[in-house]
């Protein structure tokens, strides 16, 4: 959830030891800023690389990550000093649009909220079209860039791994990305419920208007093999030819004959009267041996006679029914939000546990060093009592003993909740007299 905090709030992070790593996220998105502003602070791949390098050149920034799409530009920092890191992000990332800061069109998030936001972004919860799948790829590509530049270290790298994992799980375990939520893809979805895949199918488009082109493009993207346009005039032939290089043009008069071997018909002409009538289509269906035909009427007024829908194996859908389908799918996606949020919370908890486990590392390392030193002392003292051929075996055996004895305590020190881990660390310090200088 994007929170709009005043910039001054950046100076008061949560306690790093108790909660998680100090993080700072500054960004704008489709909720906080209009497109006119977003496009001015959008970063190409080259620009992103430059920005990350400039951020890393600042001493107050330890790690940095940037995601920039048409709907958002967000900078994630692991700051050494919160206020100065915030200033660095504002100066470097949003310098091209000063009104972002002046009009408060940005948001700032700290620590676990910043981490949660990145995970939610990867799951599509923050997208303009809820659950859209492209964002996961964009997060991944940005992560690869940050890694290539060298701007993400241990913490941000692990955070990105959690974000990608959450995004993948959201898609695999919930239906947040299911169902078409645009008119073009609603046509594809309907076709997929009738035919075994749309790949290799053929489609006739009557008219070359904007809506028809959107639907045709969605079908072509999903693998429609044979696309044909039938236009009443010739003025758009060239333009359509450029947009759809593989498409064929046919005359409007031949539309019924062409339909005999098509699977999908999209009608979107500006005609005042229906251009597809039930009587003629009945003849076509006989030629087709009644193979199913999906008819999508995108015209206003409608291009397809109402009685067409009554023909056997003809599935007629108009703008209203497509919009009804889109609304239903959006509703379905919204119902999945709590399940996705649960995944985000779970992955965030894993991230927090991992980070807290880092605090135990110095102590675990010291414990292992001390045990190794004791082992070496004891082995050296006893070496004379063993024949030469057993020396290696003695080493192997004692090393294995130490490793096995320390395995469980080391695991326990790294795992568990924050409070429990602190108690364990204290106990380990006391029991093994760790952190009190070198042993005699």
């Amino acid at each position: 959830m994007a929170l709009s905090d005043p910039p001054g709030a950046a100076a008061e992070p949560a306690s790093e030891a108790a909660e998680g790593p100090a993080l700072l996220a500054v960004g704008i998105d489709h909720r906080s800023a209009p497109l006119e502003l977003r496009e001015r602070v959008a970063f190409s791949r080259e620009d992103s690389e430059g920005l990350l390098l400039r951020l890393m050149a600042r001493p107050e920034v330890a790690e940095a990550y940037l995601i920039s799409t048409c709907n958002r530009t967000e900078v994630y920092l692991r700051p050494r000093e919160q206020e100065r890191a915030f200033r660095a992000a504002m100066e470097l990332a949003f310098a091209r649009a000063p009104e972002v800061e002046r009009d408060g069109r940005f948001w700032v998030l700290h620590d676990s909220e910043a981490a949660r936001h990145l995970l939610a972004v990867a799951c599509g919860l923050e997208s303009m079209v809820l659950g859209e799948p492209e964002i996961l790829g964009q997060v991944k590509r940005s992560a690869e860039l940050a890694e290539a530049v060298g701007s993400c270290g241990t913490v941000v790298k692990r955070l990105l791994r959690s974000a990608l994992q959450a995004g993948r799980r959201a898609r695999a375990e919930t239906e947040i990305g299911e169902g078409a939520v645009s008119l073009g893809y609603a046509v594809v979805e309907l076709a997929r419920h009738i035919f075994v895949g749309v790949e290799g199918r053929s489609c006739l488009v009557l008219g070359g208007g904007e809506t028809a082109v959107l639907a045709a493009r969605a079908l072509v993207e999903k693998g429609v093999r044979d696309l044909r346009f039938a236009l009443r005039g010739t003025h758009r032939h060239e333009e359509l030819g450029q947009q759809f290089p593989g498409a064929r043009l046919t005359t409007f008069q031949e539309r019924y004959a062409t339909l005999a071997d098509c699977d999908v018909l999209i009608a979107s002409t500006s005609a005042d009267e229906p251009v597809i009538e039930a009587g003629e289509l009945r003849q076509v269906m006989r030629q087709r041996r009644s193979r199913p035909l999906l008819v999508v009427d995108l015209g206003v007024p409608r291009n397809v006679g109402r009685r067409v829908g009554r023909l056997d194996n003809v599935f007629l859908h108009d703008l209203d029914s497509l919009q009804h389908l889109v609304a239903r799918n959006l509703e379905h996606r919204r119902a999945e939000v709590p399940r996705v949020e649960a995944i985000v919370a779970e992955e965030l908890e894993h991230f927090g546990s991992w980070y807290q486990g880092l605090a135990a590392e110095p102590l675990v390392a010291e414990l292992q060093r001390r045990a190794e030193r004791i082992r070496l002392q004891e082995v050296e003292g006893a070496r004379d009592r063993f024949p030469t051929e057993l020396q290696d075996e003695l080493d192997r055996l004692t090393r294995s003993l130490v490793r096995k004895i320390l395995h469980h305590p080391s695991t326990r020190l790294r795992a568990g909740g924050a409070e429990r881990r602190l108690a364990h660390l204290e106990l380990a310090r006391e029991l093994f007299q760790l952190g009190e200088g070198e042993e005699e």
């Binding site: 299911e178 419920h193 075994v196 194996n313």
Partner: protein, 274 residues
């Protein structure tokens, strides 16, 4: 041995319940893990069931169809193997819940009506007669499966026609797949029933014990065979498409059920003479 005979139906019931659960999770949630587990669980249940039927045949030295419980467990087995074949044919599992659920119901009824000591019936000791009964049950089970797919087909067909999208829409496979699975079940049923009729003729010629021209069960089976043969022929000639075939499948099953009930109500014995 007696203990095994007692617990085996329950083990099968549990195995089918697990498989139904996995297919249910797949249908309602679309979880990938369920997709991975559903088919192997059903295959395991079918393998156990096959072993159980083989053991019953060996134990009682007769085909396990002498009691209602045995006939029901054979029907459950038949529906399960037909579904597995259709799953392989259609390459999809989304409709499995509705079919494997039926298997579970048949097996549950078999458990409820289970008789530890089935009566000995000489007829069932004869292999030709055993094959005849199995093929007939397989045929009827396949027609029931075809009717189930017919129902799912018509449901999705109507939703797509009327633009009213319920929970079925989005969960079921495309119409073309449902049609393919329905036709596959019809073909299996027709082939099995043809086999049952041919086997029955062989049996009658060997025993001469049956007045087949006046046996309502034989006439009913022959009428069913003609009905479904006609439906398949019309499909072959491309006069019928999915909707007509789906309606014929449902009507055919209705005719079978009503006729079987009528024959059992008004005629003594499964066939007139036994």
């Amino acid at each position: 041995m007696e203990t095994l005979a007692g617990i085996a139906p329950y083990v099968l019931l549990a195995a089918y319940a697990l498989a139904t659960g996995a297919y249910g999770v797949l249908f309602f949630t679309g979880r990938r893990e369920a997709s991975v587990w559903a088919s192997p669980l059903l295959q395991l249940a079918v393998a156990l069931h096959l072993a159980y039927l083989a053991w019953l045949t060996w134990r009682w030295e007769q085909f396990p169809g002498a009691t209602v419980s045995q006939a029901l467990t054979v029907v459950a087995f038949a529906v399960a193997i037909i579904y597995l074949f259709l799953e392989w044919l259609g390459g999809e599992r989304a409709s499995g819940f509705w079919l494997v659920g039926q298997v579970l119901v048949f097996q549950l009824l078999a458990v409820v009506l289970h008789e530890p000591q089935p009566p000995r019936r000489e007829l069932f000791e004869h292999p030709i007669f055993g094959i005849h009964v199995f093929l007939a049950l397989l045929g009827y089970a396949a027609f029931a499966v075809a009717a189930s797919y017919g129902f799912l087909f018509l449901r999705l067909y109507r939703e797509l026609k009327r633009s009213r999208f319920s929970v079925f829409y989005g969960k079921l496979p495309p119409l073309e797949v449902l049609e393919r699975m329905m036709t596959g079940a019809l073909a299996v049923g027709f082939a099995a029933l043809t086999g049952a009729l041919l086997d029955g003729i062989l049996w009658v010629r060997q025993t001469s014990a049956l007045d087949w021209q006046h046996d309502p069960m034989i006439l009913l089976t022959f009428a069913t065979w003609l009905l479904y043969g006609g439906a398949l022929l019309l499909r072959r000639l491309r006069r019928w498409q999915g909707r007509q075939t789906a309606m014929a499948s449902l009507a055919g099953l209705g005719v079978i059920v009503v006729s079987l009930v009528a024959v059992h109500t008004f005629v003594v014995g499964f066939h007139r003479s036994f």
